[in-house]
């Protein structure tokens, strides 16, 4: 039988390195907050004639917004991110752009004042934190017949945080290189990843719980490994199923949802991996009180 748990320290080492890289990426690049979280205006325009990204950048800078961020949506539209615009300033900017680059249609306009931005960031953080605590409590309750139920909940939540840090790290790099911003689409994606990660962990924990009751092996690690192998097919099949939906979205909706799809692609696979590589190994290490050996993986796994 495939021995996953025997290599638990290697898995934890790999995950530790990924989390570390994520944290490094976050501290080097930081996350580029979208206007929802940092306030400002976002104007989406589509020109009647073909216009280059550079031309739009230049025109916007000429009109007095040298700090504006201009991006192409891929569908021929441009996103122009500006400081908070008044109605007059917006009218003036639109008139200026028409003079320089020809007629265009305003596809969308967003404006977020600093007060709303900080409130949104604050409340979104609270919502996620409360949801995480709620899940921790429920999992601990669902596994209350197990010895140390809080450990099961804690492992699921640590695993979920592991996924979030890695996804955020990937986005820090994407932000640093391509200027991708953290917007509500990103938050939606992260919420989805959190949901999936915890869901996936619970399914595996459930099998461990069942096998523990059956008493298939006196050795916790052997029993856990047995459970993990039993549900491995399910993890792969479910992951593939979601992959199909994501690929379809990527192909047909594409550019306008690239943030969401990217978060999901990275997050769902990290989430599937981390149940096997983080949540379960961590539970075994915790149950066997092997914390001291964490730093000697090579010796420990023998």
């Amino acid at each position: 039988m495939l021995d996953i748990i025997g290599k638990r320290f290697w898995f934890l080492l790999i995950s530790g390195v990924m989390v570390l890289l994520g944290i490094i990426a976050l501290s080097v690049f930081g996350l580029k907050a979208g206007i929802e979280f940092s306030s400002g205006s976002l104007l989406t325009v589509g020109f009647e004639q073909e216009v280059e990204l550079g031309e739009v950048k230049e025109a916007v800078a000429d009109l007095g917004y040298s700090n504006a961020i201009v991006q192409s949506t891929g569908a021929g539209d441009f996103l122009i991110r500006l400081p908070e615009l008044t109605d007059e300033a917006k009218t003036a900017l639109e008139a200026g752009l028409t003079t320089k680059l020809g007629a265009f249609e305003v596809r969308g306009f967003d404006l977020v004042s600093p007060m709303i931005a900080s409130e949104t960031a604050h409340n979104a953080a609270i919502a996620v934190a409360v949801a995480a605590i709620g899940m921790l409590l429920y999992i601990s309750w669902a596994f209350h017949r197990m010895p140390n139920p809080l450990r099961w909940g804690a492992c699921a939540i640590i695993c979920m945080l592991h996924d979030v840090v890695i996804v955020a790290g990937v986005f820090a790099v994407l932000g640093g290189i391509f200027g991708w911003q953290i917007d509500m689409m990103f938050i939606t994606g992260v919420l989805t990843v959190i949901g999936y990660s915890v869901n996936d962990t619970i399914v595996v924990f459930d099998r461990i719980r069942e096998n523990l009751r059956k008493g298939i092996s006196p050795d916790f690690a052997v029993m856990v490994n047995h459970s993990l192998v039993e549900v491995l097919t399910r993890s792969i099949i479910t992951g593939l199923g979601i992959l199909f939906v994501l690929v379809a979205l990527l192909l047909f909706v594409g550019a306008s949802m690239q943030t969401l799809i990217t978060v999901l692609l990275v997050g769902i696979y990290i989430g599937t991996y981390s149940t096997i590589g983080v949540a379960v190994p961590l539970l075994v290490v915790w149950e066997r009180k092997e914390w001291g050996r964490l730093f000697h993986p090579a010796r420990a796994s023998r």
């Binding site: 009218t91 959190i194 949901g195 999936y196 869901n199 199923g241 594409g254 969401l260």
Partner: protein
């Protein structure tokens, strides 16, 4: 057992038939509701958050003032012909307005939140010849008061002169008459500026309207030079009541309906193709149970749409995230059950035993993971309501919540009920149709 299952099967099919009837045609009307209600991000429209300046309002009167503001905004929205506008008070001093499906112009948007209080001002020229406009005041009962449109009777109307000029005709109320007599009497031969806030009222020609006073005015007057459209709007706003307090836009999101329509079409296509791919995969891998799981997925999609339509749940862009997660969980529930069935079949159980054991063994995992998700969705929905730009979080949570509940129902009721009739038929003995592995090899 068999009879119970037949009854459940009939109920399940009846629900499906009802759901199908409810959603087709998708844009048709059922129970007074038309089509799926789409969020502003999908169908286009305008979402504005106003903050009211309540500094001039007496303590304890804030709520009443906000309700007054809401009523005024509602009056202003009605003529725009929006089907399902949402106007609501949020927090202590905010008003959120959602106008779905509307391609609103900047001018219309500005009119929505304008105070519509005209103030009359006189020109004061200093020694350098520079003009400043100061409020024109009169005295009533020893109190100095500014002449403004709050003294208009609510019967202003628009007319045209013989020369074709647009006139906004107004009448002063009692106090206004006294003030007007004093002000116009003093300013004969001099200009009288008309301001809205600190901006001069502009005429059709883009120039400030500042008529020269020809004679003393006491009962009624007229404002010349506005465009017809502007005169009509202003007249309506002066009559239907001005806003009691100034508003400031703190949040705004507008999407053109065209962009939204493209998006819906693309998402629908992606959703259908994604589901078909999942179905093919399930059928190839799981054989007959895969076919049943595919039927369950179709059932799931139809029931979800029906619930969205019948209850008027708003589907947003973020809802797509919730949808994917709930589809994932629907797939997962089936996979869990089938994997368990596979184990049972490998252990040489009969199909009937494998189905029942498969379900009862998979159930705790399905239950725990779904309940955790429902819990998280409820918390997000509840806390999401306090966020001004909350549409995404709420949209995600509500779609996930409904999706998970429906997926639990379909995975268990539909899949199991459809699988049971195979028990005892000739097919049931051919294990290879029910599991990707030959039963023998693993025995």
């Amino acid at each position: 057992m068999r009879r119970t299952n037949t009854i459940i099967l009939i109920i399940v099919l009846a629900i499906f038939a009802f759901a199908l009837w409810a959603i087709f045609p998708l844009d048709g009307e059922r129970f007074g509701r038309q089509g799926i209600r789409l969020g502003l991000d999908l169908q286009g429209g305008l979402h504005i958050g106003y903050q009211a300046d309540l500094s001039s309002v007496a303590p304890g009167e804030e709520r009443a003032t906000l309700e007054g503001v809401m009523a005024v905004i509602e009056n202003r929205i009605n003529p725009l012909g929006v089907t399902e506008p949402v106007i609501q008070i949020q927090g202590d001093d905010r008003i959120m307005v959602e106008l779905p499906g509307l391609d609103i112009t900047d001018v219309e948007k500005e009119r929505l939140g304008r105070v519509a209080l005209l103030e009359f001002r006189e020109a004061e020229v200093d020694e350098n010849g520079e003009v400043t406009w100061i409020p024109a005041t009169g005295t009533i009962d020893g109190q100095e008061k500014v002449l403004n449109s709050s003294y208009f009777k609510e019967n202003t109307y628009v007319s045209t002169s013989q020369l074709g000029e647009v006139l906004l005709i107004f009448e002063w109320n009692e106090e206004g008459s006294k003030l007007s007599e004093q002000v116009t009497g003093r300013l004969i031969g001099k200009p009288l500026g008309i301001f809205e806030g600190d901006t001069p009222l502009l005429g059709d020609d883009g120039q400030p309207i500042a008529p020269v006073v020809k004679s003393q005015i006491s009962t009624s007057g007229q404002i010349e030079g506005l465009s017809l459209q502007e005169a009509r709007t202003l007249s309506n706003q002066l009559n239907a009541g001005r806003l009691p307090v100034p508003l400031k836009i703190i949040y705004e999101q507008s999407v053109t309906p065209m962009l939204g329509a493209d998006f819906v079409a693309m998402s629908l296509k992606a959703g259908i193709i994604g589901l078909i791919m999942v179905m093919l995969f399930m059928i190839i891998y799981y054989r007959i149970p895969g076919v049943i799981a595919s039927l369950a997925l179709v059932y799931y999609a139809v029931l979800l749409l029906a619930i969205f339509k019948l209850f008027g749940v708003t589907f947003t862009l973020a809802g797509i995230g919730g949808f994917i997660l709930s589809v994932g969980m629907a797939i997962d529930a089936n996979v869990l059950i089938f994997e368990r069935m596979k184990e049972e079949l490998r252990a040489k159980r009969t199909l009937g035993a494998a189905i029942e054991t498969g379900f009862s063994r998979a159930w705790p995992a399905i239950w725990d993971s779904n309940i955790t998700t429902i819990l998280a969705a409820l918390i997000l929905f509840w806390l999401g309501s306090s966020i001004v730009a909350s549409a995404p979080v709420k949209g995600f949570a509500i779609t996930l919540l409904i999706g998970v509940v429906v997926s639990m129902f379909t995975a268990v009721m539909v899949t199991r009920t459809f699988l049971r009739p195979f028990v005892g038929t000739g097919l049931a003995r051919r294990t290879s149709l029910f599991t990707p592995y030959q039963g023998k090899e693993n025995a």
